[in-house]
């Protein structure tokens, strides 16, 4: 059913540290790899070696530049994927019931056997988290690696989403954001984790940790030092003028 559960037992989600992320796209590759070979239809690559390559991804890293007046610019890498919203508009608009939010852990999933590929859920999502797979004709989205996190065939350290497992800088954290005592919840509280576009009322589960304050550079820009040259330079200046 596309009615949202009133309450979910857990709120599994990601906490992404924008201070630590170096923008290596490792999570993008790990996500594509795992989700192409496992749950649901593979993530297609169209015309991969041709002139107009394209394809479906569940996670993409964008880079932004922020600059305050009179300050040096700062680069922030922002991985973007489904935020598994508590009030997920993509779920309620779905006409077929293919989109649903699980009451046990809050993961938002697509039942590919019911999806008609109308694309309305992608229109309803403010975050661009859903991509239609153009080969399969069905909507793809982050599953929070539902086929890893409960998978007892995997070693315990691998039972986290592929993007979290692969992140070389430790910028991605996975856990229950509904439990105030979980590591991820403490991290969010410590670092002032925030929601993306909270005014749209989607109540995202995933949180972003803002970049830490940078040291301020105390050096002034270089002054012009030879406006009125003195000493040897003064003599040279005058000598050259006379030539």
């Amino acid at each position: 059913m596309t009615a949202l559960p009133e309450k979910t037992d857990k709120k599994l989600g990601l906490v992404i540290d924008l201070d630590t992320c170096v923008g290596c796209h490792g999570c993008v590759t790990a996500c594509k790899g795992w989700n192409t070979q496992n749950y649901g239809a593979p993530l297609s690559d169209t015309d991969p070696y041709g002139a107009d390559p394209g394809g479906t991804f569940l996670n993409r890293v964008f880079s932004y530049e922020a600059q305050a007046e009179g300050q040096p610019a700062q680069t922030v890498h922002m991985p973007r994927s489904c935020l598994h919203c508590d009030d997920a508009p993509c779920v309620t608009v779905c006409p077929t019931g293919a989109s649903y939010k699980r009451s046990e852990d809050g993961i938002v999933l697509v039942n590919e056997d019911r999806c008609i590929g109308c694309g309305l859920c992608a229109w309803a999502c403010p975050y661009g988290a859903r991509e239609m797979d153009r080969d399969a004709g069905i909507m793809k989205k982050c599953t929070l690696c539902v086929d890893r996190i409960y998978n007892e065939n995997l070693p315990e350290e691998d039972r986290v989403p592929a993007c979290v497992r692969t992140c070389p800088s430790g910028a991605r954290h996975f856990g229950d954001l509904g439990d105030p005592d979980s590591d991820v919840s403490k991290l969010v509280a410590d670092r002032g984790g925030y929601d993306l576009m909270p005014d749209l009322g989607t109540k995202p589960v995933n949180k972003y940790l803002p970049p830490r304050a940078k040291d301020t550079l105390n050096t002034q820009p270089l002054e012009v030092i030879a406006d009125e040259p003195q000493g040897f330079l003064g003599w040279l200046d005058k000598a050259l003028e006379k030539l």
């Binding site: 007046e69 700062q74 922030v76 006409p95 077929t96 999806c115 229109w123 991509e131």
Partner: protein, 289 residues
């Protein structure tokens, strides 16, 4: 938003078809026999052609039957159900009227209500989307309903009623664009969307993709904005003002009615194309657009 031809055909044709059903249900024009057959055939042809067109852009048509299941939350599902109910109700009206000459007044009125409800549910598919601020306003359903009522009255041969309705449509279009522009302008910045505004001015340095993709094609890539102002005037004149003037100022006749209909349909298609093409989705902010 990507102006998919299937969705433009769907909303204009089915809107017109259900608009004609609305008037036929009320007994306007009061016809029976062969004439009634012709009117109902036009209404069915338009609404069914529109509904069929709406399935063209589906990625996975074989699951279409499930689309009727989620009426509790989904306007798209409600739209499908309302459309099918309306088509069914009008079979109960059309057959007795054509072959038995029966009035079918009560079922007719009921059918008319459902016809309007269908158009309303269609409009809510778009008006419900908070992500597209331009559409998320009360005038969006009003615009769809006036298109259906005005166009339907034109097809039903009610020149004067159609004239007044198309005049109302002209005013509503103007107001909708004005409010839409204000709402779109208040969409925020890349800094607001990323939550990084406190760091200063935020611009996109590098996008998360090297090739085009679904999100960009569907929601970020915008067409028609360069000529939006001109296209608005063309749509306004053709869909509303000109046919309204013809219908209200000239004596009723087949030629003027046909001319008004041709102008209105052309304007409606242009207006609907623009409705999609100029709508900006908030996800564009992440792409610096």
């Amino acid at each position: 938003m990507h102006p998919a031809p299937s969705v433009i055909i769907f909303t204009t044709l089915s809107g017109l078809g259900f608009g004609l059903f609305f008037w036929l249900g009320l007994g306007v024009p009061d016809v029976s026999g062969g004439t009634a057959f012709a009117f109902f055939a036009i209404a069915y042809a338009l609404s069914c052609a529109g509904l069929l067109a709406s399935t063209f852009h589906l990625g996975n048509k074989k699951n279409a039957i499930y689309a009727l299941s989620q009426w509790r939350t989904s306007w798209l599902s409600r739209e499908g159900i309302a459309a099918i109910l309306t088509l069914f109700l009008f079979a109960l009206v059309a057959v007795p009227r054509i072959f038995l000459g029966a009035e079918m007044a009560i079922s007719g009125v009921l059918g008319s209500i459902f016809a309007l409800l269908t158009v309303f549910t269609t409009s809510m598919i778009y008006a419900q989307l908070k992500t597209i601020r331009r559409w998320h306003q009360p005038l969006t359903p009003v615009m769809f309903l006036l298109h259906a009522l005005g166009g339907g009255a034109l097809l039903a041969g009610e020149a004067k009623i159609a004239g007044w309705l198309l005049l109302a449509l002209t005013l509503v279009l103007l107001a909708m664009w004005r409010i839409g522009d204000q709402r779109a302008a208040a969409r925020g910045t890349t800094g607001d969307a990323t939550g990084l505004a406190h760091l200063g001015e935020v611009r996109m340095l590098e996008s998360g993709h090297t090739a085009r993709n679904y999100v960009v094609d569907e929601m970020v890539y915008r067409v028609g904005r360069k000529h939006a102002a001109k296209l608005r005037m063309i749509a306004l004149g053709l869909a509303g003002a000109l046919p309204a003037a013809i219908l209200l100022l000239t004596p009723p006749g087949h030629i003027t009615a046909f001319l008004a209909l041709a102008l209105h349909l052309t304007g409606a298609v242009i207006g609907r194309w623009l409705f999609f093409a100029e709508a900006e989705h908030v996800v564009g902010l992440y792409h610096g657009k």
